[in-house]
């Protein structure tokens, strides 16, 4: 049995175990069990990544020993290995925060977080269109249940989120059905060899794309995201923004870069890149204008996903492997930074007793650590060197800067940077207003603040392993 499967089964089994015996454990111990499972899954993911990086070609896993064509194949590539590692790492970081900060989480958080981990791991490993649909549904249902953990006030946003998530999945499934009707196969590897440029393929790809863009909250289908992400409990917001929206993005990347014929991909790609640019600006402006801290952070997710969409669009237009590296570096850097931002925002809300941005006056004095975490994570979103965000942006900008004809795209990236600097500095500037301090309601929870800072430090540490990450993602090409 391969390490990748171990990394997938550990969270799935521990989720079932926690559902069965969770009631007999104390809340703290249930958390420790979930974190330990996340850690073991992390170790397995590391070995899986080493295995596939050494072999330098994808490892295909036929589940149940069925032969190719009958089996639902799983596929381990260096990218899916890295994403497995990243998912497990995020679950451990967020789990530590959820278990040891004073805010805490309800007991039901733990099995759900394990399910979420398992669903994502299955998604990264799938190479079968219908299997991807199943993992999408699993992901969506778990995410909705986690939003509802925030209690009564979150039921309405959770119900809306669920309906949208179902609609998105149905769009995707209709596309999958049309694809199967045309080619008689669901396996991504097989479809990549067979796909042709005809109207049926075009319609199928278009319908799938609409569904996936809705699910990944890519502009202009992002309107559901702020409501759902801002109303969830803090730890859940961190997972939703950091990980869940990246799942559909992965599928989108897979169908366009592998399944779709290059001709169609090159036609649609500029639209994707433009949507990304619009997301950068529109999401950033909404973040700048929002009155609530968590809504600001949620809108910043919409904006940051714009970079990823842009990288995807340019990857398809130019078929440039460097954009592939930029896309996934963005995903990882944004995941870590956003987890830190949400946790810091949650901690500040709880300590200062306010949900408004204007209530952060004097936060540098009253909650210095949480504010520091917010600023440090924000620095990565802006792309200040030497953070992970900078690394990703540099890889994205390099080909844009080398050719003068690419100036509109470079301008888009730079204006996105400007807007994200504006909304981060808006918060930081208010927090330095020590003349009119908003007095805290209770003593800051030091451990919670440190745990909120942890992912932010990790994203700045990404620069240390930047070379390794780039080589891993590019397969040694660059």
């Amino acid at each position: 049995m391969s390490y990748a499967l171990v990394s997938l089964f550990i969270p799935m089994l521990s989720a079932l175990l926690l559902v069965l015996i969770g009631k007999t454990l104390s809340e703290r111990n249930a958390g420790i069990m979930a974190i330990a499972c996340g850690f073991f899954s992390l170790v397995a993911a590391w070995f899986a990544l080493m295995e596939v990086a050494a072999g330098n070609q994808p490892i295909l896993i036929n589940l149940g020993g069925w032969e190719t064509g009958l089996a639902i194949r799983l596929r381990l590539t260096p990218l899916s290995g890295l994403l497995l590692l990243f998912t497990a790492f995020m679950h451990v970081l967020v789990g530590l925060y959820a278990d040891f900060s004073r805010q805490g989480v309800p007991r039901d958080y733990w099995p759900l977080s394990c399910f979420l981990h398992g669903a994502l791991a299955a998604l990264w490993l799938s190479a079968d269109l219908f299997n991807l649909y199943i993992t999408l549904e699993l992901l969506g249902l778990t995410a909705v249940a986690m939003v509802a953990l925030a209690g009564k006030k979150a039921y309405t946003p959770a119900a809306n989120y669920l309906i949208l998530s179902l609609v998105a999945s149905l769009f995707y499934m209709l596309g999958v059905a049309l694809m199967y009707g045309r080619y008689g196969s669901l396996d991504v590897v097989v479809l990549a060899l067979q796909s042709q440029d005809d109207s049926m393929t075009r319609i199928a790809l278009l319908v799938m794309t609409v569904g996936l863009m809705l699910k990944a909250a890519l502009w202009p289908l992002h309107l559901w995201l702020p409501d759902a992400h801002a109303n969830a409990p803090t730890a859940v917001s961190a997972l939703l923004s950091g990980l869940v929206v990246k799942g559909p993005l992965f599928i989108l990347w897979m169908i366009w870069s592998e399944v779709a014929p290059v001709v169609i991909a090159q036609q649609i790609a500029p639209l994707l890149a433009i949507a990304g640019m619009c997301a950068l600006v529109a999401g950033g402006v909404s973040a700048m204008r929002s009155a609530y801290i968590k809504t600001l952070v949620a809108y910043s997710t919409v904006a940051q996903l714009g970079y990823a969409t842009m990288a995807l669009g340019l990857l398809l237009t130019w078929q440039l492997p460097q954009m592939h590296v930029a896309l996934w570096l963005f995903v990882i850097a944004h995941g870590l930074a956003k987890a830190s931002l949400f946790m810091a925002a949650g901690e500040m809300q709880a300590t200062l007793g306010t949900r408004r941005v204007s209530g952060l006056r004097g936060a540098t004095q009253t909650v210095p650590l949480a504010m520091f975490a917010f600023a440090v994570a924000g620095g990565s979103l802006i792309g200040l060197p030497p953070s992970g965000g900078f690394l990703a942006k540099w890889v994205l900008l390099e080909p844009l800067m080398s050719d003068a004809r690419n100036w509109p795209w470079a301008l888009g990236v730079l204006s996105g940077t400007l807007v994200s600097a504006a909304y981060i500095f808006r918060v930081v500037a208010i927090s330095f207003d020590r003349a009119r301090i908003n007095p805290p309601d209770r003593r800051p929870d030091r451990l919670g603040h440190w745990l909120a800072l942890l992912p932010a430090l990790m994203v700045w540490g990404m620069a240390l392993v930047g070379d390794w990450l780039i080589r891993l993602l590019s397969g040694g090409d660059i």
Binding site: E137, A145, T156, A158, A159, L162, S169, L174, L178, G181
Partner: protein
């Protein structure tokens, strides 16, 4: 018109009807029914496509069955959430009236 075309077009029409309902209505239960209509349309397309060869393609039948299971459980979950949220909203309205 062959039966494959007829049922595919019917399925897509039902799917579009579902989207129409989803956009035009605000009541949560109605929207959920619209989503279920979209599901029914998708399944109809899939069953129609299964008939493109003889004997009918069993893979698509299996996919429809899997999709039905997902749709039923998701609908149940959505109903529970909608009922819970409507109870809370009613309670809030009642509170507002007494104030």
């Amino acid at each position: 018109m062959s039966s494959l075309q007829l049922y595919s077009i019917l399925g897509i029409a039902i799917f579009l009807l579902g989207i129409h309902g989803l956009i035009m209505t605000t009541d949560a239960i109605r929207r959920l029914i619209a989503v279920n209509l979209m599901g029914a349309g998708t399944f109809l397309v899939m069953v129609a496509l299964a008939g493109r060869i003889t004997p009918p393609d069993p893979v698509l039948h299996a996919l429809v069955v899997t999709g039905l299971v997902v749709a039923i459980s998701a609908t149940a979950f959505a109903l529970r959430l909608i009922i819970a949220s409507s109870i809370i909203e009613k309670a809030r309205d009642a509170e507002d009236d007494t104030l």
